[in-house]
């Protein structure tokens, strides 16, 4: 990815706009996936009963694939 085509990053001192945050999603996901499995949601926690009740046996909604971000 060339620096020209890089999406906006989340800055330290200013607010990131909603549009820029959305544009940066794929970049962030792909960077993280280079050093850890793409999905790292915990398999269990103390919130399991309520989460699995709400999400039909899962702990949350399924994550979007990188290419759809």
């Amino acid at each position: 990815m060339s620096s020209k085509s890089k999406p906006p990053s989340i800055p330290i001192h200013e607010a990131v706009s909603w549009e820029d945050w959305l544009k940066g999603r794929r970049w962030r996901r792909e960077l993280g996936s280079r050093v850890a499995p793409p999905i790292i949601r915990r398999e269990a926690s103390s919130s399991d009963p309520r989460l699995r009740r709400l999400f039909h046996g899962e702990r949350g909604l399924p994550f979007a694939r990188s290419k759809r971000l």
Partner: protein, 208 residues
Amino acid sequence: MQADLVKAALADILADTDPTRKAAKLASLCSEVFRQRGIDLVVVGGSAIELLTEGAYTSGDLDFCLLNRNAVPLRERQELMGQLQGQGGPRSWQVAGQFVDLLGPLESLARTPLRKLAGPYGLVQIIQPEELLVERILVSVYPQKSVPARQCARKLAAVALGGALGLDWNEVERLARLPEYRIFPECQKVIEEIANELKVKTPFHPHP
């Protein structure tokens, strides 16, 4: 925020099936409703990591701490969550297909700014990633090794080292050296590992 706008926002959030975007929208709406009552919320924990990294870590709950209050009386919490058509309480509510947890006052040693996302319904404040990174590295080692915490730390470091998230590495070092953390050698090791994997320069001085 007018009731019809809240209603429209809730319908939008409920219909959203992307967990991270949905959490960001709900954080934005909750923050705005509380802000109008003079209460500043900060997203913390796994929800904060998710908003900053897109790490596919979060579950279906959203954790907030209080920035400018030590506590919010139960009556006020229930009224505010009522505006959001929330169900439950006294500290956790189901809102628009997610759980919202209201924890205590924010505990952060970081001196860097809270990160801010100008969400669709209002500004979202997110705990400093410098604090999140050092905290996850500590939890990945003590009291025993934790793979999920290490994976979170690795993703957070990678997103920052790759340039997608502004991070103050001097602040990371300062925090990691504090008596409250005492984790700098491990922190340096993790960051160097990630920097090598990404083929970028480490922000810390190499080991002597």
